[in-house]
């Protein structure tokens, strides 16, 4: 017998027609379809195939090796445990991912509530003078969080022909130098002392450049920044200072 020929001789056919490459194909087709033989001759020709099919159907079952029940059960338990470990891993990764997303959302939401955060990066530029900040209470530097009753002392270097030092609270102007007291130009530099009379988010700003600094707008920090930038000035934001009651 040519087993490989039997197995591999016929490649897949593209067409949908019946395979009729042997003379007894019709005979086997009729046998497959359960049709009765049309003649004694066909019955005789069919007989060996009918017997062969019956013998193939009745081939004895091969018995698995002893202990197969235990091995099948062990394999199932192993698969279940592996699936459980995989699920735990997936859940753990999902929880960590979810926590990261929530943390990110909380962080960005908090930032969104601070009106001056978005413009911080816009305002700074080359040559910008970041204000030097001190919080003073009863004449000495105060450590820890700022509280109402302290004084915010700001110092900025005069690095450009025009420099103005300002302090905003929750986006609204509360002091500026030059322009208000107590503002004390010291040499080429500016110093401003702002009593912290109300709680809030204080933000020191230095506006500097070759052109004169435009006066502040009643709309507050955002608009002042746009006006300053339009005038070709550098708008430098200091770190926010949260003042507690």
């Amino acid at each position: 017998m040519t087993g490989d020929a039997a197995g591999q001789g016929g490649g897949p056919r593209a067409g949908g027609g019946a395979a009729t490459d042997e003379p007894d194909d019709e005979l086997l087709d009729r046998l497959d379809a359960g049709l009765p033989p049309r003649s004694d001759e066909e019955a005789r020709a069919r007989a060996p195939f009918e017997r062969l099919r019956a013998r193939v159907r009745d081939l004895p079952l091969a018995e698995p090796d002893p202990g197969w029940e235990d091995r099948a059960r062990d394999r199932w338990q192993f698969a279940v445990a592996a699936r459980r470990r995989r699920t735990i891993k997936i859940v753990a990764v999902a929880v960590v991912g979810l926590a990261a997303v929530v943390a990110l959302m909380i962080t960005s939401t908090r930032r969104g509530h601070r009106p001056d955060t978005d413009i911080a990066a816009v305002g700074t530029g080359p040559g910008a003078a970041v204000p030097d900040v001190r919080i003073v209470r009863d004449g000495s530097d105060r450590s820890g969080p700022a509280t109402v009753g302290s004084t915010l002392e700001l110092h900025a270097a005069q690095t450009s022909p025009h420099v103005e030092l300002r302090v905003y609270r929750d986006g609204r102007l509360v002091a500026r130098c030059p322009g208000e007291t107590p503002c004390a130009p010291r040499g080429a530099d500016l110093e401003l002392a702002v009593p912290l009379t109300e709680p809030g988010n204080y933000r020191p700003v230095v506006i500097s450049g070759a052109a004169a600094v435009p006066p502040p707008d009643a709309a507050g920090l955002d608009v002042d920044m746009l006006i300053a930038r339009r005038a070709g000035l550098t708008f430098t934001l200091g770190d926010p200072i949260l003042v507690a009651p």
Partner: protein
């Protein structure tokens, strides 16, 4: 015990019991089919165990199955073929078995005790010489009465190609038995 108990476990979603019952009821038939296709006992055991795991990965499919045995044999066929195709280790084992069986054809097999055993051994020997997909298709067709379409899907061949291979194998086995003096 039988398919009714299996159906009840399926209804409860009790996969552990379902596995136990399916194995108890159908493992022998599944193992036999896997062995008939791959010819190596250790590979057949792997394939048989994989078959039950695979079936229980999608237990919802069992709800629409008319005969669990037929469904398991279908899955066993694809699982065994996939195992042999994907695993060089299993392919090597099958090749070694085939070579040693051919080299020691007269001594490896115990002498058949009866005429029925002699015929069965002769048929098994003929089946062993068929290509993997042809052997699987032949058994699906003539032991399970599976449709050509189902068989073609399981062995990943065109329907006409499968039909032609199985017909050719059938004619050659018949001729081989006749040559051995066995009335097919």
């Amino acid at each position: 015990m039988g398919d009714d108990e299996i159906r009840a476990a399926l209804g409860r979603g009790d996969l552990r019991t379902l596995h136990r019952l399916l194995v108890a009821e159908h493992y022998r038939a599944v193992f036999d089919r896997c062995l008939a296709i791959c010819r190596v006992r250790s590979t057949a055991e792997d394939a048989a165990q994989n078959t039950f795991l695979k079936v229980l990965e999608r237990p919802d499919q069992l709800h629409s199955v008319g005969s669990y045995r037929a469904w398991l044999l279908s899955v066993a066929t694809t699982t065994t073929i996939d195992l042999l195709r994907s695993s060089q280790r299993h392919r090597d084992r099958a090749d070694r078995y085939h070579q040693s069986a051919v080299a020691n054809e007269d001594t490896v097999m115990p002498p058949p005790a009866s005429e029925a055993q002699r015929v069965a051994a002769a048929i098994q020997a003929c089946l062993a010489e068929l290509a993997l997909e042809t052997r699987a298709a032949f058994l699906r067709r003539h032991q399970d009465d599976a449709s050509w379409a189902d068989i073609a899907r399981e062995v990943n061949l065109e329907v006409d190609a499968v039909r032609m291979r199985v017909r050719r194998a059938e004619r050659e086995i018949e001729a081989r038995l006749r040559a051995l003096g066995i009335e097919p």
